[in-house]
């Protein structure tokens, strides 16, 4: 191994500092959620009391968030994978314009999208009051991530020739799509799915305006607990949230590393 110069150590220190900025508060909040009294510090002892209290107070927000995330994933798969396929296959200005449009909900602030949904469909009482209203917002916001992840893989393989190969062997369009196209885009579909799930579970910008007292999601509950509960409960709630998204974040990282190799 070669020797490291001063420039190396300077850059390493800087990077470690940045890393600390990102990681230390996460660790602090996790610790706070398990500490008897955060103001006193860790010497006041460890407890699961706050986590239990979070469960008692907010269990239905956790359930609702999980349900919406799964439903959102199903919707983005059904809508997004075929859409990505079309965008990969079709060339020309129309396809590019559609691609541009589909990505817009990410560029446009969630607040604007949510307001737009409310002024348009807010009068439809049952729909406005149901969790489907939130689902619509989540699907809009996450669909671009699914489309882009799948499209990235589709454009990196020679999709057209693979399909022609399958067709020359007698495969119909449906057979080609499910036996050749989808399996060869599996990594993109998986990455997109993990991203969609994670984003949906954590979505706040849209959801804060779309939710009703009966359709509170996890991040809505989080904001509520930060504003009105003691810091240990907010922390414990954050801890629960981390536990929910960490598996998919880790999988995403592994997937990204394999893809880079």
């Amino acid at each position: 191994m070669r020797r490291y110069g001063p420039a190396f150590w300077a850059q390493l220190s800087f990077t470690l500092l940045v890393c600390a900025l990102l990681v230390v508060p996460v660790v602090l909040s996790m610790a706070a959620g398990l500490t008897v009294n955060y103001f006193v510090g860790i010497r006041s002892g460890l407890t699961l009391r706050w986590v239990a209290e979070v469960w008692a107070l907010y269990a239905d927000t956790i359930r609702l968030s999980l349900g919406i995330a799964v439903a959102c994933l199903a919707c983005t798969l059904v809508l997004g994978v075929p859409a990505a396929y079309v965008l990969a296959r079709a060339k020309g200005p129309v396809a590019r314009a559609i691609e541009e449009l589909l990505v817009m909900p990410v560029a446009v602030p969630g607040l604007a999208t949510a307001l737009a949904l409310i002024v348009t469909y807010g009068g439809a009482g049952d729909f406005r009051r149901s969790w489907l209203f939130i689902l619509v917002g989540h699907v809009l916001f996450t669909l671009p991530f699914m489309v882009r992840a799948v499209l990235a893989v589709m454009t990196s393989i020679d999709l057209k020739t693979l399909e022609e190969g399958a067709a020359s062997l007698g495969a119909s369009f449906v057979q080609r799509f499910f036996q050749v196209v989808v399996p060869n885009c599996a990594s993109g579909i998986l990455a997109g799915s993990l991203m969609v799930f994670t984003l949906s579970v954590g979505e706040f910008n849209l959801t804060w305006l779309l939710h009703t007292p009966l359709t509170k999601t996890l991040p809505v509950g989080l904001a509520d607990s930060y504003a009105s509960m003691r810091i240990e409960i907010g922390s414990a709630y954050t801890l629960v949230f981390f536990l929910m998204i960490i598996p998919s974040l880790i999988l995403l990282q592994l997937l990204g590393r394999r893809g880079r190799r």
């Binding site: 020739t161 022609e164 067709a167 062997l169 495969a171 036996q179």
Partner: protein, 347 residues
């Protein structure tokens, strides 16, 4: 390779098949062509000449402009998409499915035809054996070499017992040595299978070696259709003459049954007046005493089995001549050339 596997080759007929792309670009002028059952026809030409378009029309990957017809035997298949034409196709990039093993790739055509699992496993195995890659059945595609991929692609195309075998530049992606050995193997396979085969290439050596007949194409048109010998020794036009092999073109003056060429006079059967003579490099010999032309060597390239010599003659011609490998010729030497009128070609 085994003789037990035999396919019934169906004749192919193209009638008035043209292809115009969006934007009005004519990739193929109206083409009429008949291919006999069991025949191997090679489409040869530079890129953009329409050979691949023709192959894709036969395959059913593209449709001819209105009015064009594609027949497989007595079936008009013009309106059938490729998946219903029962063809076997080998792609330039092989188009093997990365999500399937070698065996699954080969069995795929049987799978979409609803053949039972055990049966398709057996037939795929047989085909892999026929291609001498039975030991690769469980491999992933990215674990194969180029030559192995080629064999898998062939096995996959053949296992469905296609009516027509289509090969789109199948050897282009391989290195020279492998290309030669696989070419021999494909040749043997095509002879023994009896399948009607259409082969597209830009490599004239491949075309000569494999084709019962060669279709030379240029700019969307057929320049010549014929056996390899016909194409080589009786080129239909200047393009074919130049594209297939190397050709020398000499200009002389004919009168009284003799052709004046430089300082020499050769017997001549053609009409009097200015005449153009075509002659292949191997039909010109280096000579001393009885030379017709003299010139100096501009380049001499030793190729092992022969030495290719470029001679600039005193009369202003530049000739490419194939001499024996051992011929000791160097740049700057003065050499004599002997011509044989019996070997002159004409358009």
């Amino acid at each position: 390779m085994s003789g037990s596997f035999h396919l019934d080759g169906v004749p192919i007929r193209l009638e008035g098949c043209a292809r115009t792309y969006d934007g009005g670009v004519r990739a193929l002028e109206p083409l009429d062509l008949s291919i006999a059952g069991g025949e191997t026809v090679v489409f040869l030409g530079p890129s953009g000449c329409g050979k691949t378009t023709t192959l894709r029309l036969i395959a059913g990957l593209e449709s001819p402009d209105p009015g064009g017809r594609v027949w497989f035997g007595d079936d008009d298949v013009t309106r059938l998409p490729i998946e219903r034409r029962n063809v076997g196709m080998v792609f330039q990039s092989y188009a093997l499915f990365p999500n399937m093993s070698v065996a699954d790739n080969v069995a795929y055509g049987l799978r979409v035809r609803g053949v039972a699992t055990a049966e398709r496993r057996r037939r795929a195995g047989e085909m892999l054996e026929l291609m001498r890659i039975g030991d690769l059945a469980g491999r992933r595609i990215d674990q194969l070499s180029g030559g192995q991929r080629q064999r898998v692609a062939l096995a996959r195309a053949l296992v469905v017992r296609p009516r027509v075998l289509l090969l789109d530049e199948p050897l282009t992606a391989l290195d020279a040595k492998l290309r030669d050995s696989l070419r021999l193997e494909i040749d043997r396979l095509l002879r023994t299978l009896g399948v009607t085969a259409v082969y597209v290439t830009h490599d004239q050596a491949e075309a000569m070696a494999l084709g019962d007949r060669i279709v030379v194409m240029a700019r969307g048109r057929v320049a010549q259709v014929g056996t390899p010998r016909e194409i080589y020794y009786r080129p239909a036009d200047a393009f074919v003459a130049e594209f297939v092999g190397t050709m020398n073109r000499l200009h002389g003056q004919a009168a009284d049954g003799m052709l004046a060429l430089g300082g020499a006079a050769l017997p001549w059967a053609g009409p009097a007046g200015p005449a153009e003579v075509l002659v292949r490099p191997e039909d010109v010999a280096l000579a001393d005493a009885d030379a017709h032309l003299r010139g100096s060597v501009a380049a001499a390239v030793f190729l092992g089995d022969r030495t290719r010599v470029v001679v600039e003659t005193a009369c202003g011609h530049t000739l490419t001549v194939d001499a024996a490998g051992r011929a000791a010729v160097a740049r700057g030497d003065t050499v004599g050339l002997r011509l044989d009128p019996a070997r002159f070609l004409s358009l």
